[in-house]
Symmetry: C2
Subunit: 204 residues, 2 copies
Amino acid sequence: MSGSPRRESSDRRVRRTRRAVQQALTELILEKGYETVTVTDLINRANVGRSTFYAHFTDKQDVLFSNLDELSDLLHLAPASRPGVLFAFSLPMFEHLQEQRRLVRALLGRRGGGVVMARGEQIMAAVVRDELLAGLPSGSTPPASLDLMITCVVGAFMALLRKWADGELTATPAEMDAAFRAVVTPGVEEALAASPRGRGPAPG
Amino acid sequence: MSGSPRRESSDRRVRRTRRAVQQALTELILEKGYETVTVTDLINRANVGRSTFYAHFTDKQDVLFSNLDELSDLLHLAPASRPGVLFAFSLPMFEHLQEQRRLVRALLGRRGGGVVMARGEQIMAAVVRDELLAGLPSGSTPPASLDLMITCVVGAFMALLRKWADGELTATPAEMDAAFRAVVTPGVEEALAASPRGRGPAPG
DNA sequence: TTATAACCGAACACATTGTTCCGAAACAAG
DNA sequence: CTTGTTTCGGAACAATGTGTTCGGTTATAA
């Protein structure tokens, strides 16, 4: 029964154990890929009793998610750095991920099982929504298709990200960023500009 | 040892068995979701011996994929119906999937495990590539970022599709199609038009 | 020092997978 | 209808993984 206890324990043993397990997970992910890592692997590598493991985590996934919170920060802070630019998170994101390439690849690639991708999409969607709402002409109503638009943008970005991590695409962060924005930005800006008040989009 | 034996067997028992298992799978998917279906479930529902199952299929996934080939046809035929329109596959796709909504939802949604999504992406990527190449100004060189572009487009589309199947988005096929094309088309057309020969893009 | 909380690890019940074996049944061909 | 071949059934099996329980040990905080 642990779920995701936000706070750090005061007991040193607890911290030690949790750290050991988390560390073991990233090691094993790099070696075997997330999906094939078993709980048994984890407790062996971490030198932790079986019962101890289940006293701290419910799952393999629980361990994984306990390591996945810093990502959100990076994304939410990014837009402030380049005000006025749509999807400013893009470049910093690609750059950041290139540094931790191996782990990212193991987590986001096809062998990663998609759990991390799912989490990432949620986080990203929140960021994109903020940006889009901020990018609207002041005083205008969000178009009804906002959610569809967000989904498109996030979908495009994540797809790019995954293939990149998977090694199916070779490009620099700058190129990735450029391609992403080139495809997505024109359509989004048109859509944003064209819906001041409850009016539907005005095609052709 | 079966992999994917293209041809239908002449032995009635074989056809019967394979059908029973495939049928059992879609039933169980609708009831429990793909990931939680076990081989044991399958053979029970299909009334098939364990050894018999493994004589025909290697996997759960093998059964799934044996049912997943008609999709490709639909996508590849679509562009011919509306010549000159980018991403003509979009609307027919959404419409087709709406008819088989429940199964599609079980297969493509989050509970579907992503196997079908992965397959779908491959198929889609081929279709999109064809369309983009066909849409280039005649005699021009495909931009180096073609793969990135394809990834974006496919990613956006698949994301839309998944959320829709998952029930996280409520919209008509026409609305889905419109949103998809609204976001993606402008950027793509700009990019296509702007790269006849190694020249950089010429904005504004 | 002491009470408490965390740890270890073995043992357990349970589920799932994939293989093997052989008698019974269904089949296609003649 | 007979015959030789193929498939089926289903039990039994080994292997692996999961999550729980329990009693004894040890580190920690106060």
